[in-house]
Structure formats: C-alpha cells, structure tokens
Symmetry: C2
Subunit: 319 residues, 2 copies
C-alpha cells in the first residue's frame, strides 16, 4: 500500500521565508542567532537569506551582513535565494560559505505569472532561458525545475495535472537548450490549494511521465492541509520537503497577521519520526528554536507543536 | 488501496467544547446566535451544551437558557453532554428539543483516569456500570462506547492498541451486564498524541476484533496532526468525526491562549469535499460561522481556512 521512504531530506527555509514577510524590522543579530540555533538541530539544509531587490523586500536589505555573520558548521548546506543576475552576483560574493544551486523557476498558472511577475508564461520562459544561461556561465549548476502554483491558484482557480506536466516540459526544454542537467522537480503549493487527493493526482501524473525523477514538495498551510499533504507525499515516496521552523512565513492578510505560512518543520519532523522515517533532526532542540523564532518575531507562530511540546518530552516525564 | 467512504457524518461540537474553555464569559445570546448560525450550514448533528457542575465549569452555568433559546430546525439532531445523574436529569428536562444519547465513557490510560476523574480504572468501570444502568432506567439508549486517550497520554505516555482493545472489552462487558446494545466505538485523541501511523495501527487492531462496528474519531489538533489524522481515518473508511467550527476548544496553555483545540470543522469539510466525500455542509456558509465564532470569543481561532477563504470562493472569482 505504500512506498514509505526510510529517511527524508528537509530543507529549512524559516530564516529566508520568515524574515521576508514579517512586518516589523528584525535585527540582523536575531537573524544570525536563529540560523546558528538551527545549525545545532541536525538540519542539513538551511536557506539563510534572499538576495532580492532591497527596495521591494526591505526585510532582506541586510542579506550580506547576515551571511557574513552566521557560523557555518561543517556538513550543513547553507543556501541563498536569488531570482536574477544581480541577486546571483551578490550570492557569488559568498561562494565559499554558501552552496549556490541554480534553478529554472516556472509557474503552472498563467494568472499568477502575470500577477506576480508581470509577464506572460512565454515571456517568463524566455527570461528563464536567459537566467539558466547566466547561471551556467557563472559555473552555477542548474539542476532543479521549480513549479509554483502546481496545485491551484487564487487568480486562476484549479490547476490540472496536465498543466503541471506542460510546465515541466517547458522547463526541460529550457534545460536541454541551455545544457542544464535536471535532477529534481520541486512542486510548490504557493497559495495553499493542495489537498491529499490533489497531491496524489499531480504526483501520479508526474511519475507517469518521469518515473525516476526525484521530487520535492514545498507546502503552505494556508488552509490547514499542509501536514496531511506531506503525509500524502510520504506515502508516495517523496523524500524531500521544504519547511519553516515555527511555521514562519505566514502571509499577513488584512487584519490576520497570524495567518498560516509554510508547513512547520517541527510538525513535519514529528510526522516522519512517528512513522519511522528518519529526519536526522533532534525534535526537542528544534522546538526550542521554534520558541526562539516566536520570541524574535514577537508574536505567536502557527506551529501547534512548539506550544504543546513533543511526545518524547511527555514520554520521559511519564516513564 | 483505499476504503474511501462516499459520505461522512460530522458531529459539530463547537458550542459545547468552545464555550467550556474560553476564559472570558460568553453571553448566552451569543451562544444561541452561534447555534442558530450552525443550523443554517447543512450540519445535521450539533452538540449545543454541557450539563456539568456549574461551579467547576462556570462557562456552562447557562446551559438551560441556551437550550431554551436556540431555534431547533427539523432534521437536525441537537445533543447535550452529561456525565452523571444530575446532568442527565437536567438534559431530560429538554427531551422534546434535544436528542439524548447514552454512552459508556472510558479512558485507555489509567494515569489520565486518575488525574482527570480521581478514580482507578476499576473504580471508573464500576461508576460507568451504574451510569449505564441509570441511563437505561430513564429510557436513554446506551449505544456508544467512548475511549479517551486512545492514542497516547500526557501522564502515561504511549497507549498501545492492546490497551484500547482491553478498554473496549471492558466497555462491552458493562454493556452486556446492563443490557446496552452498542452500535458505535468513539476513539478520542484527547491530548493530541495521534499521528496517521498510529491511527492506522489502532483502527487496524479494533477492526481485527470487531470488523463490523461503526467507528468515530474525536481528534484534537494539539500538535498539528488533526487533519492528517482525519485523512488517515477516511482512507480506512471511518465515516464519523467530531469537530468544532473555527477549531474552538483550544486548551489555553500558560501564556498560549491560542493553542489548538479540536479539528476544525471547516478544514475537515474541505478535506472531504476535495476527495469527493460528501459532508452535506455548505463550506462558504460554515466559514462565515467560523468568523462569527471568532468575533464572539474575541480572539483569533486556530482555523487557517476561515482566514484564507474557501477554494470555491477563489474558483468563482477566477471563472
């Protein structure tokens, strides 16, 4: 009945996703403190910052200072996010400390591409072709195709598995043209449309076309389905997940500053470990970091688990 | 691969669970307003109040006024909660308006029974035998065995499937002795220990012993697993779920007044409807009631969906 993996690869995006969206300014020292604390939990992949237009995203104006400031531990991959040549240049200045992975980032929804990037899908393909060439020219390996809005879109409604397949084919065409060797498809539920049934349909369709491609899920808990969606992914043997400690990254709706963000890393770890799937993460330490994140942002985070405590903590008390 | 049901029976417990736990006094008129609003959503089972010791649970001192005040709609079952003879008498005073279902309520954890009821499991069995006889003597059918802490316990740690089976056997022995005809086992994750894997193990064990018994799940979202657990239950063909609108019923931890409570009815409905499982509920109306519940309690509720809005609302906009 299942293809349960024996272990999963968790990509922590709390620092990057979280501090991008918080309304108040977060001190550089606090960002560094969180990254250093995450490095102690057993996580092996931490996205530490976003090299983006500082006018549009003032929360990451201090990206350079954060990267300079945190302490890199051996065996942990620290990654930046970047979208264009300027961001890539800023990232490359830290190429000794950061792992810089290239990507072809597409969106399965034309409506979202228009709204978010002010481009048509065709224009975005052209931009991504140039960006793939640029990354290759800088020696950055382009190994990943990312598909945003792969499960539905606030602007376009339902997204069919065929639209996701079409988008991946577009990405593979760019890869072929630019000499990129794709090793991973990352499917993002950017606006919280996924449900377990939809995860099964989309992943089933992708697997039909590319049975051996490694898959990653980037899940948002916008409508409370993220953990159930991760569970559906695990049952299908998906071995890589993005997540954020504490559930950092909530999109502040009008009057709802505590709306849910990404799937919480702690809850993902609990889910996996209780299924016998290894994460390599010390959950009690991670819960402490979730509480630290809550202190840093100064308001309650969506994670239920950081408020309730781990099962192991109660097991030890009961023993 | 699955035994997906075609429809599920949702038992809304928001008014009872929610108003029991809220720290501030909730006006009787507001409780009535919420029940009347729930009656318009398509829900067919609504637990409206708790007839409990008003000194211990001041939030339900107005149970009689609430029951007298709401407008009963045809086709909807309105139920009370009660634990002893006094509560049953108070409920029976409204037997024309309320559906009074009897139960044998046990706990799979001796530690929780001691802590919560100040009784040993053996003493609790004796109390339940007397309570079953009393219910029968009043003409209240005892058709349900409830098992609290069926998936784990903060005081005792893990609970094995064998302990759940033993507790159900104890309940069936009481039923046999007191002439009760049991039609339903209700398994409660009272302290948020369940994970999908554990749901599968416990339900598998119960089904091995009683393949034809109807099962119900009462899930709490204490550690963020509730929707994933409901999904595991649906995959196993469980057709009945308790839930609360907005996720009312959060257990206020020290300094964490917004800690999670029961599984949110809206999120359960979304999960089911997107899997093609009928609930009979109008989700957009229910989301409005969740927002009303939030207004009534005066603070944000755990439901993510009431903040994000339904998929159908966005589908209509996108169309």
């Amino acid at each position: 009945m299942s293809d349960l993996p024996r272990h999963v690869e968790i990509h922590e995006e709390g620092p990057r996703e979280g501090f991008q969206i918080e309304p108040g300014p977060i001190a550089t020292a606090d960002k560094i403190k969180l990254i250093d604390a995450l490095s102690e939990t057993g996580l092996k992949h931490i996205q530490v910052c976003s090299f983006v237009n500082t006018r549009l995203v003032p929360g990451w104006a201090d990206a350079e200072a954060v990267v300079a400031g945190f302490t890199a531990r051996p065996g942990i991959e620290y990654t930046p996010l970047f979208f264009n040549g300027n961001g890539l240049e800023r990232a490359l200045a830290f190429k000794d400390k950061l792992t810089i992975n290239g990507a072809i980032s597409l969106t399965a929804s034309e409506g979202f591409t228009q709204k978010n990037l002010h481009r048509s899908h065709a224009e975005n393909l052209e931009a991504m072709r140039k960006h793939a060439l640029l990354q290759a020219s800088k020696g950055v390996p382009v190994t990943r195709i990312g598909v945003m809005a792969a499960f539905g879109c606030n602007y376009q409604g339902d997204i069919t598995p065929a639209q996701v397949i079409g988008t991946l084919k577009d990405g593979l065409a760019i890869a072929a043209e630019t000499g990129a060797k794709i090793e991973l498809f990352s499917l993002a539920d950017t606006m919280g449309w996924a449900t377990p049934a939809r995860i099964e349909r989309v992943i089933g369709a992708v697997r039909n076309h590319w049975p051996d491609m490694k898959l990653s899920l980037h899940l948002h808990d916008t409508r409370g389905m993220a953990v159930a969606n991760a569970h559906a992914g695990l049952k299908l043997g998906v071995t890589r997940y993005d997540s954020t400690v504490g559930g950092l990254g909530g999109c502040p709706f009008a009057g709802q500053p505590k709306a849910a963000g990404n799937i919480c890393t702690e809850e993902l770890v609990l889910l996996c470990e209780e299924m016998g799937i290894q994460t390599g993460v010390d959950l009690d330490k991670l819960i402490e970091v979730g509480r630290l994140a809550e202190e840093i942002v100064g308001h309650q985070l969506p994670s239920e688990l950081i408020h309730a405590g781990s099962l192991d903590a109660f097991r030890r008390k009961a023993a």
